[in-house]
Amino acid sequence: MKKTYNINIAGSVFTIDDDAYTLLNDYLETLQHVFHNTDNEEIIPDIENRIAEIFTIKVTEGKSVITLDDVESVISRIGKPEELVEVDGTETVMVDENGNITEEENIEAGKKTVPPPYTGPQPEQVKKKLFRDSKEGMIGGVCAGLSKFLDFDVTWIRLIAVGLLLLSIPIDHLSILTLPIVYIILWIVLPDASTPLQRMQMKGDVPTLSNIGKSVTGMFRQSQSKSNPYGYDSDNEKKDKRIADEIAGFFGSVGKICLAILLVMAIVLEVAMIVGFLGCVFGLVLLSTAWGSDLFGIPSLMDNYSYNQWLLGLLMAIGYIVTFGIPLYCVIVLVLSKNRKNFGTVTKIVMSIFWIMAFVLAAVCTGLFISNEENRDEYWRHKYEQESKTEILYEDNENEYNEDIYESVDSIETTQAKDTVVKAQLTVITPRAEKAKEAKAKAAKAKTDKKFKAEKTKAEKTKAEKAKAVKAAAAPADTVKTK
């Protein structure tokens, strides 16, 4: 049993086996190389038209699905790519950095050509170019590409890489992040060897068109024999890589870092699940504390913190839930579920936007929350120090000034002058002791008031006595008169 695809050639729709599709796709891509000249732009549509026609005939003859045999017969009818090149087949393809074919005057099919001057035996191999090999790699194909470039076995390179990772445990100066970061950088920087031409460059085969053409059909046969006859596993493996590359390619470099971080963690899949799960739980607990509950000893946000902190805590909680929840959800749906759904483009965009927002939100709120807490502690500590200092000052000064006030009060008559003297005394004190100053002034004033009152009553007393005396003196005078 095989998977099928629905394809559209020249406006007609066909159902085609997946291996037949791969071969057909590679063939058409190679033809693009052969006929890339602008003069030949009508040829590929003509060929596609012809292919559509051949397929239509097969369908009307009773076949419902296009198989590998059908595609192979089409290729032999229309011609293998090397047959369509009207030179002796040793012409080398000139490629620029992007892998696009540049100058090629001699390779226009159909023209009579003068063979190029013989420059000596053609090299068996040209210099290899370093690519990523995502078809044979496990995560992003970095190790696989390196192995092709260096001619080492893939497994050895992977072992060395993992060894580097583990060496960071005993060695102090080697961080455990070195390998993941290097891997991610290589993943972003190295191009993927997807087209047949790139695959040849990676292996170092001379990229003549005849070689490319042979590689298309030859390579296909090779991969056929390698793969599992039941086909299921290799499909899923391919799909994993396609998903990873699709998502990574779509998000761009930044997304690749995030995705790569996620995937590197997901080598041990359970770790990613656990982290995501714990992160969500933490976020939920935080959220519940915002509503006044008291879980796991985390103090309730609502009761114990100021309003600002409560708000920050709430936003933090939401941020954490989404930041951990989205990757968790992705991992669950893409990797673990039986149906293996693939996300639509819109979903991807929306999820990545939300993830970035939530991540920033969580980070910012956490930072603000913690700094607010620290500021608050700082503030109370500061205040406590202040108060304790002022108390000390107050006690010392009190003893000092008591005597001073008494002395100056005695030597000066008027109460006003006394007040000014007291005040003058008090202005010597440093600004810190404002409160103490006021307290002292009050105390001083109270004392002078007391004294004043005492004097006043004294004066009144004497006055009253005088008045009495006057009255008494007047009284006998009256009694004398009446006699």
């Binding site: 020249a10 406006g11 007609s12 033809l31 006929f35 003069d39 030949n40 009508e42 040829i43 003509d46 060929i47 038209n49 012809r50 559509a52 026609e53 397929f55 239509t56 005939i57 009307t60 032999s76 009818r77 229309i78 011609g79 293998k80 047959e83 369509l84 009207e86 002796d88 099919a109 159909g110 023209k111 009579k112």
Partner: protein, 130 residues
Amino acid sequence: MNSEINESNIKSQMRKGVLEYCILLVLKDSRCYVSDIIERLREADLIVVEGTLYTLLNRLRKEEKLTYEWEESPKGPPRKYYKITPVGEEVLGFMSEAWDEISNSISHFRNLDNSNRTTTEETTCSTEEQ
């Protein structure tokens, strides 16, 4: 392996020269679709793959020796039917002349060879009297 390539190379090199001529001949009196042309060529023992034909037809059209028109077909997508142009007919004339000339030259050499065979002697190319 090398000699194999050379043999098919020789044939294909020779065919390349005459293929254009053959196509113009086929289209001289009728309008044909690509697979018709291939069929005709096969009848004449001239086997080519369709892809070669597509490129050749494309070039001839660019050189205005041929033209095409679309026709709906019950068997699938619409088809291009090729036919010869006046320019093409003129070129065909030249080609026929050229062919006759070359063919004569070759026949001349071959006849010479044939006539010499009867003596069963190896002849030298020198014109010196023995």
